[in-house]
Symmetry: C2
Subunit: 274 residues, 2 copies
């Protein structure tokens, strides 16, 4: 029997990280995936640093116990608030979503002025502003707390969502940021709103999807994990997926499909003891 | 020293239960109050029975450990999904919000047709329908998942909230329920939307606020808890309040004031080990 392919552990508070997994399946098909959604305790976006860090470290330990050889923190809030704590607690390489997003914004922008939209917790942490300023960019961060519930309601092309987006983006592209030429989607729910946000954002703005940027960063690291002995046949077969959720597995299957764009099978319930 | 007044423990997943506490302070000023908001794990409204029941039983044990002589489950989701489990685990009387709400609806309605609005989990449990049908009423339950995030965004009089409410209530008062004459606010966030919902609901509809009905139910039971030796002076002094939250105490103070309508002091962080 050929050796198993390396397992990449992907973690999010719920379903949003499935947009990152979707991008990973396209760019890194040579892996197996274990996805952990902490659906019993979502959302993280309105919670404090201490709470999010504790939950994220527990999730990372769980994924390592499932054999993950690399961890992808597919949650902007967990990355923004707790990446340092997760890295300190992990025994394998860890990739978050903030630095890849900032790097992609740095490549996309011409006038070095960038708007980032995200959850309240991500914005309050200023993790994006820090990452963008380190790259010599000016950043405006804007919390958009209603966008996640609107996506979860399925209103991704609804007139109400468009009005809400107009209000939020109107406030973001103001006061010296009218001419920002790049907008980072700093929440893994937002890729589902990309067509709507494309219409609402000023025409000259490039939209950076941190899910895609993160998948590219993972792809760059992944080759190091591949054992030489892996046969070409084994590597070329379809990626294997396993899902873990802390709340209802039925709901995970049902809602998750919208984010992943594929049917979801093989969901196991996990009860993390704090 | 005169004996202490009885402590009533009030529990919610977050801030909404403060609307019940507000009603209690008016109707039952002779008590002390310990309020527990499970803010690290909110919201409960989108979670499964098993998860909500486990969290609610932990919270009840915590409030009993703080000396509560009566428990008020000031959360529609926890009441709807887990009242039986909480009652079985508790050593003191327990009052939930569903039966008082159903009782008030039964008094208010003339044509015995009632609409209930609430979270996804409350509606899926059909706890209100059951409680209303037991009283000989016909019930239509409607999940309104965007209303809680809109209240938490502070948009209680916003045109977007009005449009969302029109969509939800339009669907609720349809298909044989056009003439329902009573609407139960089956979520403790909704009292903050009462003026807006009053405008959007059909004119002939009476609105039942389960926070008020619950306070009346507690008041009826409370006299039994009063020790005879309590001096009139002691009973007449202002109620004492203590707050416990599982996430940031600063955020609890800040957001909580909007729900309670009073400044919030004396918040302690609690870390429930599962």
């Amino acid at each position: 029997m050929s050796p198993r392919r390396p397992i990449i552990g992907v973690f999010d508070s719920g379903f949003g990280g499935l947009t990152v997994l979707k991008a990973l399946l396209e760019l890194v098909p040579d892996a197996e995936y274990a996805y952990f959604g902490d659906t019993a305790r979502l959302p993280y976006g309105s919670k404090s640093v201490e709470t999010v860090a504790r939950y994220a470290v527990e999730a990372s330990h769980f994924l390592e116990s499932q054999g993950a050889k690399m961890l992808v923190i597919a949650c902007n809030t967990a990355t923004a608030l707790a990446l340092d704590r997760i890295c300190a607690a992990a025994h394998v390489p860890v990739v978050g979503v903030v630095n890849p997003g900032a790097e992609a914004a740095s490549s996309a922008t011409r006038n070095r002025k960038v708007v980032v939209i995200g959850t309240e917790a991500t914005v309050s942490s200023h993790a994006y502003r820090k990452a963008l300023e380190e790259r010599g960019l000016q950043a405006r961060e804007k919390a958009c707390p209603l966008l996640v519930p609107l996506v979860e309601e399925g209103w991704v092309e609804h007139s109400v969502t468009e009005q809400v987006a107009r209000i939020y983006l109107g406030e973001a592209f103001a006061d010296g940021f009218h001419d920002a030429d790049t907008m980072v989607l700093g929440c893994t729910h937002y890729p589902l709103l990309k067509p709507l946000l494309r219409r609402v954002a000023p025409d000259h703005v490039s939209i950076v999807d941190s899910a895609e940027s993160t998948a590219r960063a993972v792809s760059a690291h992944f080759q190091e994990l591949l054992p030489d002995s892996n046969s070409v046949e084994e590597r070329r077969s379809a990626p294997r997926l396993k899902f873990f959720a802390t709340d209802s597995t039925e709901k995970f299957r049902r809602l998750g499909q919208r984010f992943l764009g594929l049917p979801i099978e093989n969901v196991e319930h996990v009860d993390l003891k704090e």
